[in-house]
């Protein structure tokens, strides 16, 4: 036998101050009488929000890869690098470690995030109870990685600040980095919108 849930006991707890309120239909979304936080069993429209933001993230990821993220002009030589071309440059130049790092941060992590989030959304929508603990772990992992996804944007920002010698060498952020940053933000929002409690919603027995 599994222990009862709050909803089954006719109760709803405040997320913020843990005040336990009596549940009745229509009380969801109302503020907590003690701290004013919104009372909700599940995040409202979690699925729709997460999907919308996830799709927006995927859409933003396309121009982020196609457009140059950084435009450098060193000693009169102009160069526009996209993410992939800079990875290739690093790889061909023998800097395999940096190439792998950038590849991991800019390609593997976002793609894995898209796929994992989609998987979580789909499985929780279907009410699957399969591997609930592992899926919860996956979600925690996604939240953790979310902070590090801004690596590229940080690198570009730091380069642009550090390398700024007019006429000798200048590095400036290119439009691609805006899309990349937006993609990271939107994906993080999508991850936040997802309600990990929905992983266990299928467990009705």
């Amino acid at each position: 036998m599994r222990p009862p849930r709050a909803a089954e006991l006719g109760l709803i707890a405040c997320h913020c101050c843990d005040l336990v309120c009596e549940y009745h239909p229509g009380c969801e979304g109302r503020p907590c009488p003690r701290c004013g936080s919104r009372l909700q069993r599940r995040r409202p429209d979690a699925q729709a929000r997460a999907w919308a933001l996830l799709i927006a993230g995927v859409l933003l990821y396309i121009p982020a890869n196609l457009l140059p993220i950084v435009s450098s002009s060193l000693l009169g030589k102009d160069d526009n690098s996209t993410i992939l071309s800079s990875i290739l440059d690093f790889w061909n130049g023998g800097s395999w470690g940096i190439a792998l790092l950038v590849f991991g941060a800019s390609v593997v992590v976002p793609c894995v995030k898209f796929l994992a989030l989609a998987f979580l959304l789909l499985s929780s929508r279907r009410g699957s109870t399969w591997a609930g603990v592992q899926r919860t772990h996956l979600y925690r992992l996604l939240e953790l990685f979310g902070y590090w996804s801004m690596l590229d944007v940080m690198v570009v920002a730091m380069l642009a600040a550090a390398v700024n010698f007019p006429a000798l060498g200048e590095i400036e952020p290119a439009p691609g980095v805006l899309f990349f940053g937006a993609m990271v933000i939107v994906t993080m929002l999508s991850t936040m919108s997802f309600d990990p409690r929905s992983i266990w919603d299928g467990d009705q027995t």
């Binding site: 006719g10 109760l11 979304g29 859409l59 396309i62 121009p63 000693l75 009169g76 102009d78 939107v186």
Partner: protein, 545 residues
């Protein structure tokens, strides 16, 4: 649900609802719109793709090398590959949309890289930024996708103000594409191209003169090759001419319009002759030439093709051919020299002479015959004693042997005489040969025997004759020494002479006293001295008056 719990549980507050959740779908919509707009923009800005052949891909880099027209990037090299036969490389270039007008035949492509040439340095900026492909738009309107890149940047870009002209020359000299064109020593243009005429007989040099200097080119403008140094030595001294330092290395063309014949401005692509130097360019036109043959029996070492033909010192033409001939009757090899004579160079005097052209040609030949009868002859003269260069001189030779002149022969043959220097040489040679014939050897023998006789005579002379002479000389010496002893200070004869002289001195003194007495008292001679000392008994008797 348990009712006992509900009493303890707090009641949620009721507030107004938040904004509808469906608005969250605006975020992916916005992202899709942004992505689509960027895709649309890149699709719209993509122009035609062209391919350019180059001999080498030196400096080109796929994905990086830009294509620039008027220093605006109009495309990028997207791919570089070898041609099928491997003879050249093909660069694929993705042009941007608004550069689609460049994808027409007539457009020229070349790689801009640093170049250091005789005309200067170009493409320095590409040292750091890397090479790029330069573009020049042509005037053709036929679309094209495949181009052949130039190996050198074109000298004349489309749309440059100015005019191009075509020069004909026998020989390109040291001209090259980019060689400067000078007008009054100002660089006003450059050589744009050159190519051999289809028949291979001359070179056509295309030059471009920048505006506004192109107005200075008129129909009467003369062009000449100003390449290198023009060193000349003449009666005025040593002259060195050059247009500028760079023409020494890179060659150049100069032009000028004679002041006496300013014409209207020449049209685009007008054709001109390119003369060898300024003098020949500015010389009055030569007019038609006449070919005359000369037949020399002497050797003509030092006469070269192009040597001048002078008539009474005036430059009248030049030597164009030299051939050996064989005279079967005399078994000699005379030289046939062909000369071109330009009668127009005679100048004003031609008005007094019969016309050499057309109908009056017979008359001219008759005139020439009369000239020959008066002694007009061709000579091969030495123009320079140091180098031995010969020139042909047409002169009236006094006492020339009369010759027959064939007025019907074509080409005309002028009689020749040997030059004065040659006859001088002959005389010298005969003198030398006469000297050679002298019996120097027998003269030497005779001289030798004569000297031997002389030697014997001298030996005889040295023997007995010399002894006699020595003795005679010794006697003479003795005689002289005794004579010397006789005249010495302490010789007795000397002392006797001294005493004798003293005696004589005394006698003269008493004589003087007597003569003084007589002159004072002449009567004393008769009466004796009155109470006066008597005259000296030694005094001689004075004559009575």
């Amino acid at each position: 649900m348990n009712p006992q719990h509900s009493e303890d549980a707090a009641e949620p507050l009721i507030t107004s609802p938040r904004w509808p959740a469906a608005l969250v779908w605006l975020v992916p919509l916005l992202a899709a719109l942004l992505g689509a707009s960027i895709l649309l923009q890149s699709w719209l800005s993509t122009g035609p793709e062209i391919s350019i052949e180059f001999r080498t891909a030196n400096g080109l880099e796929a994905g990086k090398t830009p294509v620039k027209y008027k220093d605006v990037t109009v495309g990028t090299v997207s791919d570089i590959s070898l041609s099928e036969d491997g003879s050249h490389v093909i660069a694929r270039v993705a042009l941007i949309k608004n550069a689609a007008s460049l994808a027409f035949d007539g457009t020229r492509f070349w790689v801009v890289r640093p170049r250091v040439g005789a005309n200067g340095v170009s493409g320095i900026d590409t040292l750091l930024s890397g090479a790029y492909i330069g573009v020049d738009k042509g005037i053709a309107t036929k679309p094209a996708r495949h181009f052949i890149g130039l190996e050198q940047p074109p000298v004349v870009l489309g749309g440059m103000p100015g005019k191009s002209f075509v020069l004909h020359t026998d020989d390109l000299g040291s001209l090259d594409i980019g060689s400067p064109v000078y007008y009054r020593r100002i660089a006003v243009g450059r050589v744009a191209a050159y190519h051999l005429a289809p028949d291979g007989k001359d070179v056509r040099v295309q030059i471009f003169i920048d505006a506004p200097y192109d107005r200075s080119v008129s129909r009467n403008t003369r062009f000449w090759n100003a390449s290198g140094l023009d060193v000349s030595v003449n009666a005025d001294g040593f002259k060195l001419k050059t247009q500028s330092l760079s023409t020494i290395v890179a060659g150049g063309v100069a032009f000028a319009t004679p002041d006496y014949a300013p014409g209207e401005a020449a049209a685009e692509n007008a054709e001109f002759e390119l003369s060898r130097d300024q003098e020949s360019a500015m010389a009055a036109p030569d007019g038609p030439a006449h070919f005359i043959q000369l037949r020399f029996t002497q050797a003509l070492r030092g006469l070269s093709i192009g040597a001048p033909v002078k008539f009474l010192g005036m430059d009248l033409g030049r030597v164009v051919s030299m051939d050996l001939d064989y005279d079967t009757s005399r078994r000699r090899f005379p030289t046939i020299v062909g000369i071109l004579v330009y009668p127009q160079r005679l100048g004003q005097v031609r008005k007094k002479l019969p016309d050499f052209e057309g109908q009056a040609q017979q008359q001219a030949v008759a005139f020439l015959r009369s000239m020959v009868a008066q002694g007009l002859r061709a000579q091969a003269r030495s123009g320079n004693l140091l180098t031995g260069q010969l020139y042909i001189s047409l002169e009236f030779v006094a006492n020339a042997a009369p010759v027959s002149f064939d007025a019907d022969a074509r080409p005309l043959v002028l009689p020749t005489v040997e030059s004065s220097l040659d006859s001088l040489q002959d005389q010298l040679a005969s003198v030398v040969s006469k000297l050679d014939r002298l019996p120097i050897e027998s003269i030497g023998h005779h001289l030798d025997s004569t000297l031997l006789n002389l030697d014997q005579t001298l030996v005889q002379f040295n023997g007995p004759l010399l002894g006699e002479t020595t003795r005679t000389l010794q006697q003479a010496q003795r005689t002289l020494s005794s004579a010397q002893a006789m005249f010495s200070e302490d010789a007795p004869m000397q002392q006797e002479i001294g005493q004798t002289l003293q005696d004589a001195q005394r006698s003269f003194r008493s004589l003087r006293a007597l003569s003084e007495l007589l002159s004072r008292q002449p009567e004393s001679l008769l009466r004796g001295l009155p109470a006066a000392p008597p005259a000296s008994p030694h005094a001689p008797e004075a004559p009575t008056p």
